[in-house]
Symmetry: C2
Subunit: 216 residues, 2 copies
């Protein structure tokens, strides 16, 4: 499958590399067509890896992974273009973390709104599915790094898109439990969780942990 | 031990009843000395149970459990009185849930502040420990209702107070894992978790669930 990965940071690298390992054709998108981090990633990942602008990659991809930093997401998706996103599944992994006032971070949108909702409103013809923002990027594509049962979530308005993303999470990335939280307004719940995640990282001492919902 | 339970709702009832079962003397506090719900609770719980105003109960208690609704907490604690809270452990279980605009609820304070922090600022001589707000009240005092490993958190500025509350959680209420998140600013992380908790309750279909942090 042709897949776009928007963003050249650690999340984009982890997702893109996993997709290449799964034999997909992956274009990494960034602000410029010749981004150096994207070039380095392409060099490491062989013939199925390519790079381009956010618009190039989004046009190329049948599915789009938004791996941009939350603060840069609106600009990145505006460059990606509504026409290129139209009708496609947009998997949103971004977080609204604001480190500008030091640690601990706060969120620049939360409670009554979320990045996931903002993206869905800005691109009503894209099928936005929020997921994977609740764990470290290494665990996103290799959940077995954390032992035992643990969970990932999906939020979105389009049931078919959520079903497809759930299939990707389970059968491509290896997740056993995918919890459907409801429509895209539930993106705010998993974006708010990240504030607890950051504190827990300090307590645990590393990012290789996750939550498991256990029930009676 | 003499203990104050502030609040006559389901949380105050669950905590108060458990403490009575553990042979403590418990005064349930409310706005008026003759609150009907408190009277009913006293009647059910025998000679070690009593009732009074927020001030009466707080004066009586060596440890104070704040089980009031978050929106009513500031007024309740003002009635309790700074002099009566001085030097005492104040276990804060309140949540900032705002249901005034319907479901799903939002928080009336979050992200850059929390109820726990507001209480600590308002009563600097109380030793505020935020805990137990992350689960349903039945699980608070009977964690074995949920099978398997699952966790509760403490947040607060006073290490000795957190150690005492951790002892209460483990040896009185039966918690196996108590995670210390840090100072009282970490109260915002567990208060924000509740927004995810509410959605999960809809997915799970009942409130008898909790989270477990699993790590590499």
């Amino acid at each position: 499958m042709k897949i776009a990965v928007l963003g050249t940071g650690v999340v984009g690298n982890a997702i893109g590399t996993k997709l290449i390992q799964l034999n997909h054709q992956v274009m990494m998108g960034s602000r410029t067509a010749n981004n150096e981090k994207a070039s380095a990633w392409v060099k490491q990942n062989g013939g199925n890896a390519s790079q381009g602008t956010f618009a190039d990659a989004t046009k190329f991809g049948e599915i789009i992974f938004n791996c941009t930093n939350g603060a840069g997401t609106p600009a990145a998706l505006n460059q990606a273009g509504a026409e290129n996103l139209k009708g496609k599944i947009l998997i949103d992994i971004s977080n609204a973390l604001d480190f500008s006032k030091g640690m601990p971070p706060t969120l620049f949108v939360c409670n009554t709104d979320s990045l996931g909702e903002q993206i869905q409103r800005a691109f009503p013809e894209a099928k936005v599915v929020k997921t994977l923002n609740t764990i470290n990027c290494n665990i996103m594509v290799n959940p077995s790094l954390v032992p035992g049962d643990h969970d990932v979530f999906v939020s979105g308005n389009d049931a078919d898109a959520k079903a497809k993303v759930t299939d990707i999470l389970k059968n491509w990335f290896g997740w056993k439990t995918v919890i459907d939280l409801g429509d895209i307004t539930s993106a705010r719940t998993v974006e708010m969780w990240v504030i607890l995640w950051v504190r827990l990282m300090g307590v645990v001492g590393h990012p290789n942990f996750n939550l498991h919902i256990t029930k009676a």
